[in-house]
Amino acid sequence: MHEAYCADAYKQAMTEKYFDTVYRLALSQTKDRHKADDVLQEVFLRYIKTDKTFESEEHVKAWLIRVTVNCCKSTFTNSWFKKTVPLSEDLVFETPEQHDVYSAVEKLPRKYRTVIHLFYFEDLSVKSIAKILKTKETTVKSQLHRGREMLKNMLGGRSEYEF
């Protein structure tokens, strides 16, 4: 009983900690707040109900990211999603640079968007990203490279942005 309480408390703490991480990743993938909410709830519902034994907090984080990406993929394959167009939502940013950068990342193809988000925002290494996405490191590297090139083009070749 004590162990179960600890496990529940730990899961609650992890849910609190990685709530925004999952939400941001879901939003970057779906580009729709409502869909991101759905994905968020699905991911944490799975986390609460799972019997999987996690080795560390990093393991939990990697699992949550993996499940988020998978849930987003499921959303994209949904026939209802294919027939709908997400509403253009203007997120409020503090500076024009933030808006430009975020908009540019949103315009990237999804596979590039995922690695860019994980690499630049979650500070994950190429190796970790490859492990989470279950792809080769070279694939992640090439996707990062192509994503950067696209971002440079979209940002107008501004020299002030360092990648």
């Binding site: 925004d20 939400y23 941001r24 909410d37 944490f44 503090e94 925002f121």
Partner: protein, 269 residues
């Protein structure tokens, strides 16, 4: 400007709705408390394993009914043929056949036994009917009506349902599922009995089979303990006892040959 810092600061402004966490926990608790799925599965399993086999007797009966229908059609064809044609086709019956075909209520005993007739009698009637073996061939027919003979079938002979797929199974009217081998001109009067007279027998039902040609030719089967047997029959009736499924039954027959009764009882074995 560093892209990484700008992108991070842009994402830092994005916050999820914290109320969703409560929703997640509520959903999780609701799913844990959801007893509908297991109870529904249990109900389906119960229906499939217990109730459905007992309900779905229609399919089980159909195989037998199909076979019976074929036999019944052949019987109908036989019956639809004119009697003259039948007579013409059939050979002149031998003396022993004549005697076993019908049972006369009163017949004088004859002592002119022929070996062939005696052999025929022994073949058609089992050893348990000692009375028949002792008497002449004519008596094996007449004895049924002359004196109320009683014989008991061995207790070890428990009766079980015999499928009507047997080519010799008697068919009465319609696609009935008669299990007992009745003479061709007889049929059980109770509709329940027509469908499953063996089942009816196990339920202790009173069965009455009458001949369509002769009202005074019948076979009655009923539990020995029932009130029906109180009258004990009369002198022209043939009485037999047998056990079925732990219950003693009495068979009363009139104007029926030993061979026919023997066939009926054997068909129930």
């Amino acid at each position: 400007m560093n892209f990484k810092e700008i992108y991070k600061s842009a994402n830092d402004n994005i916050k999820g709705d914290r109320a969703l966490i409560d929703n997640v926990y509520k959903k999780a608790q609701r799913k844990q408390r959801n007893f509908f799925a297991p109870s529904f599965a249990a109900a389906v399993a119960l229906f499939a394993l217990v109730l459905y086999p007992s309900i779905n007797t229609h399919h089980a009966d159909r195989t037998a009914e199909t076979k019976i229908a074929k036999i019944y059609d052949s019987r109908l064809n036989e019956k639809s043929e004119p009697p003259e044609k039948k007579l013409a086709e059939s050979e002149i019956p031998t003396q022993s056949e004549k005697k076993t075909d019908t049972v006369q209520p009163k017949k004088e005993q004859t002592s002119n036994d022929t070996p062939q007739a005696q052999a025929a009698t022994e073949n058609s009637v089992p050893a348990q009917t000692e009375v028949t073996a002792e008497n002449s061939p004519a008596e094996d027919v007449a004895v049924l009506s002359e004196t109320a003979e009683e014989f008991a079938v061995s207790g070890a002979d428990t009766f079980s349902a015999k499928l009507a797929s047997d080519s010799s199974a008697p068919i009465q009217s319609g696609s009935i599922t008669a299990y007992a081998l009745l003479p061709s001109d007889m049929s059980f009067e109770s509709p329940v009995s027509r469908q499953k007279n063996v089942a009816a027998l196990s339920a202790g039902e009173h069965l009455l089979a009458k001949s369509c040609e002769n009202d005074d030719r019948y076979i009655e089967i009923f539990p020995t303990n029932s009130a029906v047997c109180a009258d004990g029959g009369n002198s022209s009736e043939y009485i037999a006892h047998f056990a079925y499924d732990g219950t003693d039954y009495t068979l009363i027959a009139k104007n029926v040959t030993v061979a026919e009764i023997d066939a009926l009882l054997k068909s129930l074995k």
